[in-house]
Symmetry: C2
Subunit: 377 residues, 2 copies
DNA sequence: GAAGCGACTTGGAACGATCCAAATTCGGAA
DNA sequence: TTCCGAATTTGGATCGTTCCAAGTCGCTTC
């Protein structure tokens, strides 16, 4: 029966201490009502060999239709459950994919995970979940733990500050990795959003509405996605010949709460901007709230653009103009990508850039003094 | 190397068709740079036996300190990766737990999943993810697929309309199941929220504020959690001797969007209620939006109470009064519970009810005409 | 110097499946 | 009837680990 073991074999830098040892003989074993059924039980039950049952289970055309029917009936009758671990051991294959993200409570990652699982489940694979909470140490531990389950591939959104070499060491040379969402030093398969273009589109949208003083609001300076979005913003300003004042770049944690708190800093700049490109939707929604608290209103006297198009974006007051990246579809895409590599490991590693799309809603209004400007759409 | 197989062995009612067969001989195999390292390689590398290396990996006190050091050095040197599937096969144990939820994009479940994974990762277990999308068929397929990976336990939030017998058949008699969040016919371990008490507290809070016409807003009639919450609401009304008009019970899908759309139906009742207990926070937030669209404002001329205390609840305008259930902590609790059962399968199955807590914020105001009433807190 | 005793190490069997080469059965052709 | 190839079935070896009974070693004790 199932035996719970507290120790985790140390294959990396982790070292065992003696006190972790649980003597397998003294550890309690379940009273087994019946042992788990195996191929042999089924085979015996319907008078064929192990090998034949195995062929039936795998849908081989080699078995006679009548035999197949008999075996399938027996399988159903006794409630046999396939042991995929044993099969994978012998066949040197795997039917799971590991997904490592920062935090599922971020709706963006939750949607992404749902997309991954959806695509994997469709072909009978399971998703092994791991979350790092943005901690590099936890990431190493999680990767070490997951890789021991021999996933066919790993989809990784690296924690901030990850070291590519450490990741490579933890994963080993045999499991394909797809890096998602963030940069990681080294040669990896990538699936990244076109952050730069997205932010550029958002900024150009605001410029087109007549804004001249545009802030870049929120996000951590050192996060790669934030850097890229900021670059897109700066690029659009430069092309339009507009000022890119550093005081209009406000750094916040990428959460609603922090963003709401920092609105004062934004409005204290002189001259005050009339619009903001936000690091992501959470920040943008926080900015909207902060504006309300200070007697302003997004979409009326201040224009706000977000990034991600999380479900809340369409439902906020006012509905948020944002850059859509369709996380669920991205999840499916990531799964497809890693499956493709598993099918043919020889394909070249590549960086795949996800196109983004500007969704104009009501939070982006023309500037108060832009009566002469026409609204572009 | 890894071989991708499209077919899913049919152990349940699923039947194979011949066209699914992929001949293992013709399916492409990876060019193997080096075979994966095994215990034997490590053993040979440092001149001890397989068994000794195995003992080192498991932190046994039986091995000499010097030997252990030599083996650990070799393990690190060659980058050996433990094959947990093989170990589990021989030891008849497991180090994974399956988690089956409706939909990760629901922030409540995402938080719950994060909690489960957090608790499991702490003891070196991994989470196998499955989502049903509220489909009973998908649930059967997902369970069948997960159970083949021999999880040590399953945490299941059943899809609406699940049949306990089918679930039992899919899971088999050897894997402990913890049912979460919803009722399922049959004898199961349960972890359920105290929906009734929560809704009662919410309703009593509104009654205490002076409301006399209180609606129950949102949710599906046939969902067990909705039924329980409605019962709590009715109970509170009955105790206070207030009318429980059926026209004040509005059914909606449990989403923000649907809830916002149905506000018209709520305000069309005669006499119109002054407050609403909502099925959950998503519905409550939708209600708040819908009120704004109709010239009313929650927390000013209409009181709204939600359920769940999702992160958005504290950040909405106005902040939402709600019933907190701490999904992340619930996730941890669920994991602990299933681990406890694995340690000792003989413990009696039980129903564990999660206490809930009313969080009063600003969306629940006294009724407009209640000038004489004092506000209770 | 033989026996006894810890402390440590070890080789073969086993877990439940797949692979593979060989065996068996089945029809039809010679 | 006999033979042949195609169709179908099969038993042993094997995947990488753990279990277990038995082994080796060094040291004390009589």
């Amino acid at each position: 029966m199932v035996v719970l073991r507290r120790t985790v074999p140390a294959t990396g830098s982790q070292v065992h201490t003696r006190k972790n040892w649980i003597d397998p003989n003294t550890s309690m074993t379940a009273d087994k009502p019946r042992a788990r059924l195996t191929l042999n039980d089924v085979a015996r039950g319907c008078g064929v060999s192990r090998a034949t049952v195995s062929l039936v289970l795998r849908g081989s055309p080699l078995v006679h239709a009548e035999t197949r029917a008999r075996v399938e009936a027996e399988i159903r009758r006794v409630g046999y459950i396939y042991n995929r671990a044993a099969a994978n051991l012998r066949a040197q294959s795997s039917s799971s994919v590991a997904l490592v993200v920062n935090d599922l409570s971020n709706p963006y990652f939750a949607e992404f995970a749902a997309g991954v699982d959806e695509a994997l489940a469709a072909i009978g694979f399971v998703t092994l979940l791991g979350s790092t909470g943005e901690s590099v140490q936890r990431q190493q531990a999680v990767l070490a733990s997951l890789v021991e389950h021999a996933p066919a591939g790993i989809i990784l959104s690296p924690a901030e500050g990850s070291d590519g070499a450490s990741v490579a060491r933890a994963v080993g040379p045999h499991v394909p990795v797809l890096v998602f969402n963030r940069e990681l030093d080294g040669a990896w398969d990538y699936l990244v959003m076109d952050n730069r273009t997205g932010a550029r589109l958002a900024t150009e949208h605001l410029i087109g509405l007549g804004h001249r003083r545009i802030a870049f609001y929120g996000g951590h300076r050192d996060s790669s996605s934030c850097r890229e979005r900021r670059d897109g913003y700066l690029q659009a300003l430069a092309v339009a010949g507009l000022e890119a004042a550093p005081r209009w770049r406000i750094e916040t944690a990428p959460t609603r709460l922090e963003a709401a708190r920092q609105v004062g800093a934004l409005l204290a700049t002189e001259p005050v901007p009339t619009a903001a490109v936000c690091y992501n939707d959470a920040v943008a929604l926080g900015l909207q709230l902060g504006l309300v608290a200070r007697g302003r209103q997004a979409g009326v006297d201040f224009a706000v653009v977000g990034f991600d198009d999380i479900p809340e974006a369409a439902m906020s007051v006012p509905p948020l103009t944002t850059v859509a990246t369709a996380p669920r579809a991205r999840g499916r895409q990531a799964a497809e990508r890693i499956l493709a590599r598993m099918r043919d490991p020889s394909i070249a590693i590549a960086r795949q850039t996800i196109p983004v799309q500007l969704i104009a809603r009501e939070s982006s209004c023309p500037p108060p003094d832009a009566s002469g400007n026409r609204r572009h759409e």
